[in-house]
């Protein structure tokens, strides 16, 4: 980067702007090098008695940072040493170095700074992280099975969606129309909703319902987050309420027992009463999200009987039980026609459902 942008070549501009100043010395440019070399000493001398030590330190630090920006091989380290060193809280050089390393992620505990930019398309996959970092050796295996299961479900839905129902009686047709929503309810309530996301063979009317269901479930969880924040507000714990709102759902990842000892919450100075309140809402949160019951999800997924006429059917109670039993039976029969699907269905689906 050229630093010419800092320069002002035309001296006359200043005069036009009306600067009130003594004329510069004739030999200004010639004197430059010598003066720059003793800039620090000169500056301190110039300011003696007019500015305090801290201000002087900042002024000199400012110049150093600008200098590092142009020439330092390790700008961030050098510049941060100046800023951390200027901070009135930090006096010992060891503290300054430790904090600087910490800011840069160079303390060596669990992370290091990459020295090169990484190409944009090298985001880690879940399998990479599981196997290389978290010692979960079955991750790739699980991934492959998930992909196979998704393929099978896509094929099964394709079969369900493209059956010819024109010769069916009204009763039979309506019963068969319940198959796809019943399958979706079954997968949601078995915590296998990941298998239904982005399935291309899923008719759009149901894909939209699935998307909507995801959003509603998340919104309900966010409502509980807001309820907890308000409860803290009512108790005069605004700082905690703010943090709950900012963290959102992530707040509920922490166990009630641990929030008082975690460093990231240390500034909140959580009390025993805060923990008790959190415990109360966490139960509610867990019930609303970890367990998606058939009753709960059947409010969100409806049978599309005649979309143009706006006729939909909600599967409740006995009708839902029968519809789920039907689709399980059809699935089982369909899977037996293909040896691979049959094996997969036995190993994964039936074990989980």
């Amino acid at each position: 980067m050229n630093d010419d942008f800092l320069l002002d070549d035309d001296d006359s501009e200043l005069n036009e702007a009306g600067y009130y100043q003594q004329p510069p010395p004739e030999d200004e440019d010639d004197a430059g090098d010598e003066e720059e070399s003793s800039e620090e000493e000169l500056t301190t001398k110039e300011y003696d008695g007019k500015l305090n030590d801290f201000e002087l330190k900042c002024i000199l630090g400012y110049d150093d940072i600008q200098k590092y920006g142009k020439s330092s091989e390790d700008f961030m380290m050098d510049a941060l040493l100046v800023i951390v060193g200027t901070n009135p809280y930090h006096e010992s050089s060891k503290t300054i170095a430790d904090i600087t390393r910490s800011v840069l992620g160079r303390n060596g505990h669990n992370r290091v700074a990459n020295t090169l930019y990484t190409a944009e398309d090298t985001t880690l996959t879940g399998v990479d992280v599981d196997e290389d970092f978290l010692d979960k050796e079955d991750s790739k295996f699980n991934q492959e099975f998930t992909e196979e299961a998704r393929r099978m479900i896509a094929d099964f839905i394709d079969y369900l969606a493209n059956r010819d129902l024109s010769k069916d009686s009204v009763f039979s047709r309506n019963r068969k129309l319940r198959n796809i929503p019943a399958l979706i309810i079954l997968l949601f309530s078995s915590n296998l909703y990941g298998l239904i996301v982005g399935i291309e063979t899923l008719p759009k009317v149901y894909a939209d319902q699935v998307d909507n269901a995801f959003n509603i479930i998340t919104r309900r969880k966010q409502d509980i987050v807001e309820e907890l924040a308000r409860a803290y507000e009512e108790r005069g714990r605004q700082i905690v309420a703010d943090r709950v709102r900012r963290m959102g759902i992530a707040w509920f990842e922490r166990e009630p027992a641990e929030i008082r000892v975690l460093a990231e919450f240390a500034d909140l100075e959580l009390t025993y009463d805060d923990v008790v309140l959190y415990r109360e809402y966490r139960v509610k949160f867990t019930n609303s999200s970890k367990t998606i019951t058939q009753d709960y999800i059947s409010d969100l997924i409806e049978v599309v009987i005649d979309p143009e006429a706006g006729i939909y059917e909600r599967l409740k109670d006995k009708t839902r039980s029968e519809a789920i039993a039907d689709v399980k039976q059809i699935w089982k029969q369909w899977a037996t026609e293909n040896a691979q699907d049959s094996e997969l269905a036995k190993k994964i689906i039936w074990k989980s459902i």
Binding site: M1, L6, L7, D11, L14, A17, G18, Y19, Y20, Q21, Q22, P24, P25, E35, E39, E46, Y47, K50, L51, N52, F54, C58, I59, Y62, D63, I65, G69, F75, M76, A79, I83, N87, Y89, I99, N110, V112, A113, N114, Y117, T118, E120, T122, L124, G126, F133, G194, V197, G198, V210, F214, T218, K221, R246, G248, I249, E253, E264, A266, S289, I292
Partner: protein
């Protein structure tokens, strides 16, 4: 294909970092929580899962969703964005002070001279030579960016005199905020243009452009953090007013509260302005010289993917 740098105004940054009425603002210096049996991005940090989505390319954090999805996972609440969508996920850091990108200094200086063309400018410094005092790169009377970063500006409308002083008595009259106050009161017709030249927001690029990596050192597993993410974290650490976690004393508000005089507070802020400016090269490789310049590489390989990368990277605010 031509490549040019475009410096974003605060309004541009807001456009990039807002979606459906939601502001994508980073407030935490932390990146990822590695203490659990998974990798959990910290909300508000530089891999905020709400803003940037899952840190993994192919699944949500809990692993229930294993493909790109428009909807959040009901369990962990995180979306898995497609690459195209992930590249549109920008955020911003809101600074507690204005700063001037020094690539804009010439234009800023022209604007300053235009606004105060009928004003007598009086320099109140400890010596006559601004260069000697480090306030200018060249010329005894030329005001460099350091003057605007840390000096006090007093305007007398009766005498039409602007006194620029390095001796600070009133914090509110200093630097870009101080000049803005004068413009607001006496030269309001220039305010909009003036505000376009300075920034309080710092654009944060999508997480997918600065992915973390895993590495081994001496048999120990370590997470490799992208230098751009470290750069953002350091800005939040030093400049953010919200994140006061832990015992460190780098938080801007904490430091400012400990400083006694207006002069100390103004100088410390100037130090941070210098950090933001001098560290531009940490934020983009488009400012590197010759062979190390990203533009050179992009010219050599003009793929569709890289074209998008140029578009995004070019629009860095700093």
């Amino acid at each position: 294909m031509g490549i040019s740098l475009e410096l974003l105004t605060d309004e541009d940054i807001l456009d990039y970092s807002r979606e459906a009425g939601e502001d994508h603002v980073l407030t935490s210096k932390s990146d990822l929580n590695l203490k659990y049996d998974n990798i959990r991005p910290i909300v508000g940090g530089c891999y905020d899962p709400v803003i940037f989505g899952s840190p993994f390319a192919d699944r949500c954090i809990c692993g229930k969703i294993r493909q790109p999805s428009k909807s959040p996972c009901p369990n962990c609440g995180v979306r898995v964005y497609s690459k195209e969508e992930a590249l549109r996920r920008f955020a911003r850091i809101e600074l507690p002070f204005y700063y001037l990108n020094d690539l804009r200094f010439d234009i800023f200086k022209q604007k300053f001279d235009t606004i105060f063309k009928d004003t007598k400018i009086i320099l109140n410094f400890s010596g006559d030579d601004l260069k000697r005092l480090g306030y200018s790169a060249r010329g005894a009377k030329k005001m460099g960016i350091k003057v605007f970063d840390m000096c006090q500006f007093d305007y007398n409308p009766d005498t039409k005199e602007l006194t620029v002083s390095e001796f600070i008595t009133d914090e509110s009259k200093c630097s870009y905020e101080g000049i803005m106050k004068i413009i607001e009161e006496y030269f309001p017709e220039h305010l909009t243009e003036y505000k376009k030249l300075i920034n309080r927001y710092y654009l944060v690029l999508p997480a997918v452009m600065r992915p973390f990596t895993l590495t081994y050192r001496d048999g120990k597993k370590l997470m490799g953090t992208h230098k751009l993410s470290i750069w953002y974290s350091s800005i939040i650490w030093l400049c953010c007013v919200e994140d006061k976690k832990g015992a460190d004393k780098l938080n801007y508000e904490t430091v400012m509260e400990s400083l006694k005089t207006p002069g100390e507070r103004v100088r410390y802020t100037a130090l941070l302005r210098a950090y933001l400016n001098a560290g531009k090269k940490e934020a983009t490789e488009l400012l590197n010289t010759s062979k190390e310049n990203l533009a050179r590489e992009l010219y050599a390989v003009r793929t569709k993917q890289n074209f998008w990368y140029v578009k995004v990277t070019n629009r860095l605010s700093t």
